[in-house]
């Protein structure tokens, strides 16, 4: 088949799919210029999350992160576990092929210099995204995914020997990744343990105190310069998720590169 026919078919299929979804949403009353009301679930979160003492208060102005890590925390934990297992699987499949290769040929001085200049800037930005997940759009997963761009650039410009010399070693990354996932789990069951010890009600992935469960994590710190918002578990989970995702993606990239997939 010619590539132009291929492209035409792909575009047609994509357009038909998009139109079907649009028509279905309009027919069901979820979309269109005449829809002016949110669905009930959205209203519950939008009005509940920022209000203290409500059922879903998260001590954070970021509704999306609150839903991801507080209201649906256990769900997100299993998503993280899926990524964890996927990376374990990748390493298992590529076991034994993990070794440093020399600098790739064909990359000019320009790519090498610019990649080493840009890599630390990417890492700083990714940390900013992860550390502000409870305040602005972003979070641990997004930050970790941004972080992974830095090793990709260094790999393209310098080869894996550079990454190894900078300390991106397999065992270090693997321990960081396991530590990240373990700390997420510990943060999740932390309130449960305290609740059992104190003899009060508590839930798994409990963030702020609830009417039925009177314990919770530190939501904010009051200082003379103003309140420092922590969002309870949100900032902790974002940091641990950043560790897990950043180390995991870097591991996967290194593994695929060293198995010969990075260059042909």
């Amino acid at each position: 088949m010619k590539s132009s026919t291929h492209a035409a078919i792909s575009v047609t299929v994509a357009l038909i799919f998009a139109l079907t979804v649009a028509i279905a949403l309009i027919k069901l009353g979820f979309a269109g210029p005449w829809v002016t009301q949110n669905i009930n679930l959205a209203n519950m979160f939008l009005t509940g999350v920022p209000v203290p003492h409500s059922c879903c208060f998260s001590a954070s102005p970021e509704v999306v992160t609150s839903v991801i890590w507080d209201e649906r925390g256990i769900d997100t934990f299993y998503e993280t576990s899926v990524l964890f297992l996927a990376i374990i699987g990748t390493l298992y499949v590529l076991a034994g092929t993990f070794k440093a290769r020399p600098t790739p040929e064909g990359m000019t001085l320009i790519v090498r210099v610019i990649s080493k200049l840009v890599a630390p800037i990417i890492i700083v930005v990714s940390l900013s995204v992860a550390l502000h997940g409870h305040l602005t759009p972003g979070g641990g997963f997004q930050g970790g995914a941004i972080f992974a761009v830095a090793p990709v650039l260094l790999l393209a410009g310098w080869g894996s020997s550079k990454l190894l010399s900078l300390g991106f070693e397999r065992d270090t990354l693997l321990s960081l990744r396991v530590t990240g996932v373990l700390l997420i789990a510990l943060t999740g069951i932390g309130t449960l343990i305290i609740g059992l010890l104190k003899g009060v009600n508590a839930y798994v992935f409990l963030n702020q105190p609830k009417p039925q469960a009177p314990i919770g994590y530190l939501g904010w710190i009051s200082t003379p310069w103003g309140n420092i918002v922590l969002g309870g578990t949100l900032i902790l989970l974002n940091i641990f998720e950043f560790l897990a995702v950043a180390a995991g993606f870097t591991l996967a990239i290194l593994a695929v590169d060293s198995s010969g997939g990075g260059k042909e």
Binding site: K116, L166, G226
Partner: protein, 169 residues
């Protein structure tokens, strides 16, 4: 590893600045977090960024700023104008060619500065670098001359003299 505390402080402060710029808010909390982040990342990358800390000084920085000001206003405007004329004229006098442009600097930052200055001006794009022959291969829209030295005079002589002042000597 960090060989020079002076270089480490400078790289750390630059990264702290980038953190604050990206975060978009200045408070006690942000400054502390930014310093932790900036100086930790600087610990890994300082020796990659700066090989000879003794070359860092205010004179070079002020020349760099002067070059940036001139480059982004005068040089860019001239280059844009020549391409705008070519686009708007019914019979543009185009003579596209790839020419070899030798350079006489050895510092890697100087070479990249020259290459990126060439690429960023409309009409010229660096397509390859030969480090053993010390030459850039440049696609030039108005290749009036094709000899190495003549092309260098037209394309990169000014960038090179600035790069030499900033990164060498």
């Amino acid at each position: 590893m960090v060989k020079s505390i002076y270089a480490y402080l400078i790289v750390g402060l630059i990264l702290l600045g980038i953190y604050i710029l990206y975060t978009g808010s200045v408070s006690m909390m942000e400054l502390i977090l930014g310093a932790i982040v900036g100086f930790s990342v600087a610990y890994i990358f300082t020796d990659e960024w700066i090989k000879k800390p003794s070359k860092l000084n205010l004179r070079r920085l002020s020349i760099l700023i002067a070059y940036a000001l001139k480059y982004f206003t005068v040089i860019e405007a001239k280059a844009h104008w020549s391409v705008v004329k070519a686009i708007l004229s019914p019979k543009p006098s185009l003579k596209p060619a790839i020419v070899r442009v030798p350079y006489r600097v050895s510092d890697e930052y100087a070479i990249v500065t020259i290459a990126n200055s060439i690429t960023n001006t409309p009409g010229t794009v660096v397509v390859d670098v030969s480090e053993d022959k010390k030459a850039l291969f440049v696609h030039w829209l108005f290749a009036e001359v094709t000899e190495d030295e003549e092309a260098r005079k037209h394309i990169s002589a000014e960038f090179e003299s600035w790069a030499k002042l900033i990164f060498e000597g």
